[in-house]
């Protein structure tokens, strides 16, 4: 049963199993284990980023395609929900329409980009996605009549999903709409993750891995490499868009900085690489560690920067705004020294 749920892809490492179980339990019981607004925010963020990173891993880790447009798809889903909720009024139908429209738009856009670039050379894809994603980001911030520009959009979602909706208390935690919203995010993320796990362990996923290892040979055996790559791109884009929709439902706000910025793209890249490319569990570990670090490490950097005041250059290097610098260094080092990431390390030890 469990093996079937995991599509036969067990963690294959004792420590990894424990860590994954701990993360699952922690996320499932987050509102009760770690009460408080901030920890719930963090938990929801982890859920959503697990899906987003897992969908990116389908591209990067399983198909060997580098895309820089993943935040664009993420943003499409988020803006889909936002626009639908703004124009159709609050309601579940608006959420559903927005989510589906976002996912379809993302898949179609991915198909178009794929047709232009994957046909020729996989390396084109990286450059073209970078160009298209930046154009879309600029476009979204320019078309302020439609998208709210830099300010983004605030909108209302059904009352049952907002903190204003109260049901009473359980184990000393008051059950509000926010909690229901969290469980919507949690279960949707869990299902999407299991779906992706299913995909990568299906014959389709095996072909993708074969193409990653040797596309020439895969073609020679008779698989249409372009077709498979394009399909993987579309699927990954659609899942990313759904993750974006969840994010929009959770935050009740979308803006270019929270959904479309290049920084988020780098975050995703880093999560995949740290967790481990080519395994879905890497996405879980990477996203969890990274989001936790992001939320709590920046404070630490601020303290360190304050403590080293007076020394030349070091306070500037430790400034919380220079968080990205250290991410970059970490990123380069992990690509060199831990190309298989944490999961690869744990699996090789057993």
């Amino acid at each position: 049963m469990l093996t079937k749920l995991l599509s036969g892809d067990r963690p294959r490492s004792l420590i990894l199993s424990f860590v994954l179980l701990a993360i699952l339990a922690g996320l499932a019981l987050a509102p009760f284990l770690f009460p408080g607004v901030r920890s719930l925010e963090t938990a929801a963020r982890i859920c959503i980023f697990i899906v987003l990173v897992a969908s990116y891993d389908l591209l990067l880790g399983y198909s060997g395609i580098v895309s820089f447009a993943h935040t664009m798809f993420f943003g499409l889903g988020a803006y889909g929900v936002a626009l639908a909720s703004t124009h159709m009024g609050r309601g579940y139908d608006a959420l559903a329409v927005g989510t589906i429209a976002g996912a379809v738009a993302a898949a179609v856009l991915a198909l178009l980009i794929g047709l232009f670039s994957l046909r020729v050379r996989a390396i084109f894809f990286a450059m073209i996605t970078l160009a298209v994603a930046s154009a879309v980001a600029v476009l979204v911030s320019q078309l302020s009549g439609l998208t709210g520009g830099e300010d983004g959009l605030n909108y209302s979602i059904p009352r049952e999903l907002t903190p204003a909706f109260r049901l009473g208390t359980l184990f000393g935690v008051s059950i509000t709409g926010k909690l229901l919203n969290y469980y919507l995010v949690f279960f949707a993320s869990l299902m999407l993750f299991l779906l992706l796990l299913r995909v990568v362990n299906s014959p389709f996923g095996r072909v993708l891995q074969a193409i990653r290892e040797n596309d020439f040979r895969a073609e020679a055996i008779g698989y249409r490499v372009v077709l498979y790559r394009t399909l993987a791109t579309c699927l990954s884009a659609a899942v990313a868009a759904i993750a974006g929709s969840l994010f929009a439902i959770w935050l009740r706000y979308v803006g270019p900085d929270t959904t479309l910025s290049f920084e988020i793209m780098l975050d995703i890249l880093l999560m995949v690489v740290i967790g481990g490319m080519g395994t879905m569990y890497g996405a879980v570990i990477g996203a969890t560690i990274f989001v936790l670090a992001q939320n709590y490490l920046q404070n630490l950097m601020g303290v360190a920067s304050g403590a080293t005041e007076g020394l030349p250059l070091i306070p500037q290097l430790l400034d919380p705004d220079r968080w990205l610098l250290w991410l970059g260094v970490l990123f380069i080092l992990s690509v060199y020294f831990f190309p298989t990431g944490i999961v690869g390390r744990l699996r090789s030890e057993d």
Binding site: L60, G64, V66, F116, S117, R119, V120, R121, A122, I123, F124, A126, M127, I128, L130, A131, V132, S134, A135, V138, L139, Q142, L143, F262, L266, L269, V273, L313, Q316, L317, D321, R322, L324, L325, L327, G328, V329, F331, I332, V335, Y336, P339
Partner: protein, 343 residues
């Protein structure tokens, strides 16, 4: 003993259609200029826009040339190229600000000397940085595209953040040297002096680069290396050394482009390299990866189109480049002048 039969190789003439096909990209720039003239209508604004488009194109070409050669020669795609643009701009502009005594006076000699000094400083720093980048970042990941992309993106972030650390997080505003300010009037059109200078400079650089590539031995090795690297190595040339040279030169050119772009915009930010990178990638893709001529034509087209569209329909300017790229790739999926690989 019978003599060996005469060996008289003959070059078959290319059919006319192939010749036209090859020359097609060359025609695109004049066609674009003509189309711009027809849709704009007014000669003076057309002239202004054309010059600024050409100036922009030349600067993009300077930044793109190194990238495309590096790719052609060693199959290395450097996403960190944009960082050299930013670093070049910061170093060059800092030099210009330090030489205020030379830039503030209306003397052509002193102004040009200041700009030259800034350019040389920028090129030296970015060249050295490129050398270090090649050693530390690129060398360990030869032959692995995926890792190359990831690692060079990491390098881009680190260098960009270091600019923040060293120069502070704010953008820097500058004014051009005295003699490069203002515009000349020609046929009723006001043309900024600096743009004219940029066009002349870019053209000179392109011609020089072509001469080096076509007429010198090192150029021959580079071109041969792009076509068939293994064969060049088998003939006893150390292609790695050539490659490092090209990488360093390309980085220095990116720095040069950064200084010119900074003076053009009169403001520099650490993120400018990243923004320019987008245009550079578009240019390199539509030109055909590895082709210097293709990059030149592509850069001119991108520059011209951006200026025309920004004048005619400002909102569309953002996506005009993407549209151009799409159109070119539909016509030639490998880019306008794909490099023929003898493999």
């Amino acid at each position: 003993m019978a003599a060996a039969p005469d060996h008289a190789p003959k070059y078959a003439q290319l059919p006319l259609s192939d010749k036209i096909g090859r020359a097609m990209p060359l025609l695109l720039v004049p066609v674009l200029v003509l189309l711009g003239f027809l849709s704009i209508g007014s000669t003076s604004s057309w002239l202004t826009l054309t010059v600024s488009g050409l100036a922009m194109g030349m600067m993009i070409f300077i930044m793109a040339s190194g990238l495309t050669l590096v790719f052609g020669l060693m199959d290395v795609i450097n996403f960190g190229h944009g960082a050299f643009i930013s670093v070049g701009a910061y170093v060059g502009i800092s030099a210009l600000l330090a030489l205020e005594g030379w830039t503030g006076v209306p003397s052509l000699m002193l102004n040009v000397a200041a700009v030259l000094a800034a350019v040389i400083a920028a090129m030296c720093v970015t060249g050295a940085l490129g050398w270090g980048f090649e050693r530390v970042i690129v060398r360990p990941v030869y032959g692995a595209h995926l890792k190359q992309i990831l690692v060079t993106v990491g390098g881009l972030i680190v260098i960009e953040q270091m600019i923040h650390v060293l120069w502070g997080p704010d953008e820097i505003y500058i004014t051009r040297p005295e003699m490069l300010k203002g515009a000349v009037t020609f046929a009723g059109a006001a043309i900024e002096k600096y743009r004219l200078l940029a066009v002349v400079f870019g053209l000179a650089l392109f011609i020089a680069m072509r001469l080096v590539l076509k007429r010198t031995k090192i150029g021959l090795i580079v071109r041969a290396g792009v076509q068939n690297g293994e064969m060049v190595q088998a003939l006893g040339y150390r292609l790695r050394l050539v490659f490092i040279g090209v990488f360093v030169t390309g980085s220095a050119l990116a720095g040069l482009g950064g200084v010119m772009w900074g003076l053009y915009q009169e403001v520099i930010t650490a993120g400018m390299g990243e923004e320019m990178m987008i245009l550079v990638f578009i240019v390199v893709i539509i030109g055909g990866l590895g082709s210097v001529e293709g990059a030149f034509i592509g850069a001119l087209m991108v520059g011209l189109l951006q200026n025309y569209v920004a004048f005619l329909e400002p909102k569309l300017a953002l996506i005009s480049n993407i549209a151009l790229m799409t159109a070119i790739l539909m016509w030639r999926p490998q880019g306008m002048m794909p490099v023929v690989k003898a493999k």
